[in-house]
């Protein structure tokens, strides 16, 4: 007979309280707002799923969602290959390695709104180096006037800010590959590309899963940089989801729709991350599972 001591539950009580206070209750508050119409602190009406329906039908929001998805996948498409390439070209040993690591990591230390400000000035055609140079080259560049320019500027800014993170992760992954692999490859007469394709890339899979997820989630939540740089404009070319949400919740004080939208936003990130994670993991395990029947 097993004796069950139910008092053990008391041991996890502090954690339950902390998590409830910091995560579950705030989330429930959002759920609460999302199903009510709050007219004034005293008057509220239960509206069921009405806000959800309204939000889903909102054209502006759908526009922001597609922009967001486009932006996040562009970020991944640029930052992941660029990060790998950077990591491959970084020195492995000696003082050069330390120096390069520090230089590469600098952009990661800069706060988001400072990054926005830096690029806001950098891209100005009157006093900014980038803007003025482009103008001198005869390119009609304006992140405040042209929506493609604005969108590209936000993308380049994100690449500038976050590619080093991918590079550092890949660099760590590369350093973890034992020398014997390179030696064996050299004895086998493998080309540089074969070494990358058959040794480095497979060994980087673990860190790449992390890098892709981090960059996906982070870029999907991007707010500060476009807010500082363009304020979401011109028009709404750089109005991404979180910006749209903030306009709704804080600007117009539409708490109901904003709360409903927050939940949908949360679910989208969860779903896409889940799909990405499982897909990347399957790419690896399919290779392993293939061994049992082959």
């Amino acid at each position: 007979m097993k004796t069950v001591n139910q008092k053990a539950w008391l041991l996890i009580l502090p954690v339950v309280v902390c998590v409830a206070f910091s995560a579950i209750l705030p989330l429930m508050t959002v759920v609460n707002y999302s199903v009510q119409d709050i007219i004034s602190p005293e008057r509220r009406v239960f509206v069921g799923t009405e806000w959800f329906k309204a939000v889903m039908r909102d054209d502006d929001l759908q526009g922001a969602l597609w922009r967001q998805i486009g932006f996040s996948f562009s970020v991944l498409l640029v930052e992941i290959p660029l990060g790998i390439a950077l990591a491959l070209s970084m020195p492995a040993k000696g003082w050069q390695a330390s120096a390069v690591l520090v230089i590469v990591a600098i952009s990661l230390l800069i706060p988001w709104n400072v990054v926005g400000t830096i690029w806001q000035i950098y891209g100005r055609t009157d006093i900014g180096l980038l803007g003025a140079t482009l103008e001198k080259l005869g390119i009609d560049y304006s992140y405040t006037g042209n929506s493609i320019d604005a969108w590209l500027t936000v993308l380049v800014m994100d690449v500038w800010h976050w590619t080093p993170l991918v590079a550092l992760l890949c660099y760590a992954g590369l350093r973890a590959i034992p020398d014997a692999y390179y030696q064996a490859a050299s004895i086998d007469g493998a080309s540089k590309f074969a070494v990358f394709r058959y040794i480095q890339l497979p060994k980087l899979r673990g860190v790449l899963v992390i890098a892709v997820l981090l960059r996906f989630m982070d870029s999907f939540m991007i707010y500060t940089e476009p807010f500082v740089l363009t304020g979401g404009g011109p028009g709404n070319a750089t109005t991404f989801l979180s910006q749209y949400l903030t306009q709704k919740a804080v600007g117009q004080f539409d708490l109901g729709p904003a709360a409903a939208f927050s939940l949908i936003y949360f679910l989208i990130i969860l779903l896409l991350s889940f799909v990405l994670y499982n897909w990347m993991l399957r790419v690896g395990t399919a290779e392993k599972a293939g061994g049992t029947h082959g």
Partner: protein
């Protein structure tokens, strides 16, 4: 297949000054074509450095490496056309076993038909035929190590196969299987094999010739029998054998060998021992035996310990400051702890070492003749 001639030294630091700066002190060594060699020594003795100098993974800081008389010092491992198996199995995770085996041939642009044939042959030899279609990543360590070896063997013109402690990560019960496989391959393909290990059993069972190394030097090159019977250096006596050779401080007192105040008779030429004056007497625990008290070739000792190791009993005894270890028949009762017994130490198998720790030349002509024969 190739005869390998080494005449080199290597230091990882630039501008080495003292002997300690060298990973490999200057050495000259030849590996015969088709021979099986082992480089044996404790960690950090330079055996892996020597192996990498042969394979071309490092370029010796001085001297040269020759394959069949051709200087290959400046060539890469690929150009030298050697195969190397590392301590940890190196396989290409995303490839199948067959693709792994085919990889070196593919890189050398061998026709597909020929690749298929070679991979089939090698897989057959290594007993991997059933797993050719599997992903290599999912296999056990011993199968992976066989793949590493197979990637070397698929090249027909491979000059030598080098092993860097290849059995370290293999389960003990699979080690002997793999070792037997290696011997079999050596017999079938007549390749030059060089095998680095710190395990004397591995070295002695695998190789025709064992190179014993210590601190960047080669101490002795010989067959298992030579290393056991006639260690030319006290290090070899100590390192080979389990337990290692007994060493007793001795001197020639005009009448015989004096050990701990006791005089022993010997068949060894008195002139040689007299010339050395102070020397070290070395005798393997296997060749020390219990004898009648008063035997002129024996020492009176006090038993300090008797351990039953299973296949033999290990007796530890003391005389003065000297310790003696003896292997005894496990079926005999053996003396009690604290008992006084006589142990025979001088005889045909006893070796004598000078102040430089080296064997005194031809201390026993009869045995020297037997070993050289």
């Amino acid at each position: 297949m190739a005869r390998i001639e080494l005449d080199l030294a290597h230091a990882y630091k630039p501008a080495p000054r003292s002997d300690d700066d060298y990973a490999l002190l200057p050495l000259k060594m030849d590996f015969e074509d088709g021979g099986a060699y082992a480089l044996l020594g404790p960690s950090g003795c330079g055996k892996t450095t020597l192996l990498n100098a042969i394979s071309g993974l490092i370029k010796p800081s001085q001297g040269s490496v020759k394959f069949d008389g051709k200087d290959v010092t400046a060539l890469t491992p690929q150009q030298r056309n050697i195969a190397q198996v590392f301590q940890f199995p190196v396989i290409y995770d995303t490839m199948t076993v067959a693709e792994n085996l085919a990889f070196p041939l593919k890189n050398r642009r061998v026709p597909a038909e020929r690749i298929k044939q070679r991979v089939g042959q090698i897989a057959e030899m290594l007993e991997l035929s059933g797993q050719l279609g599997q992903r290599a990543a999912g296999l056990a360590a011993d199968a992976k190590q066989k793949i590493s070896l197979g990637r070397g063997l698929v090249r027909e013109d491979v000059k030598a196969v080098l092993f860097d402690e290849p059995l370290t990560v293999i389960d003990p019960h699979l080690k002997w299987q793999l070792r037997r496989k290696l011997k079999q391959i050596h017999h079938e393909l007549k390749l030059t094999l060089v095998y680095v290990t710190h395990d004397q059993v591995e070295a002695l069972t695998f190789a025709d010739q064992v190179v014993v190394m210590e601190r960047g030097r080669t101490v002795q090159v010989g067959s298992a029998d030579e290393l056991f019977e006639r260690p030319t250096h006290t290090f070899v006596g100590h390192f080979i054998g389990s337990p290692g050779m007994n060493f007793l401080k001795a001197r020639w007192n005009g009448r015989g060998i004096e050990v701990a105040g006791h005089t022993l008779s010997t068949q060894t030429s008195p002139a040689l021992l007299a010339a050395a004056a102070d020397f070290t007497l070395g005798v393997r625990p296997e060749y020390v035996s219990l004898v009648e008290s008063g035997d002129p070739t024996a020492l009176p000792v006090e038993v300090t310990q008797l351990q039953d190791v299973g296949t033999y009993k290990l007796l530890t005894a003391r005389i003065g400051n000297e310790i003696l270890r003896v292997r005894l028949d496990p079926h005999l009762a053996g003396p009690e702890r604290g008992a006084q017994v006589w142990l025979k130490v001088t005889g045909a198998h006893t070796c004598y070492y000078g102040a430089d720790q080296r064997l005194l030349a031809d201390a026993n002509p009869a045995l020297a003749a037997r070993v050289n024969a």
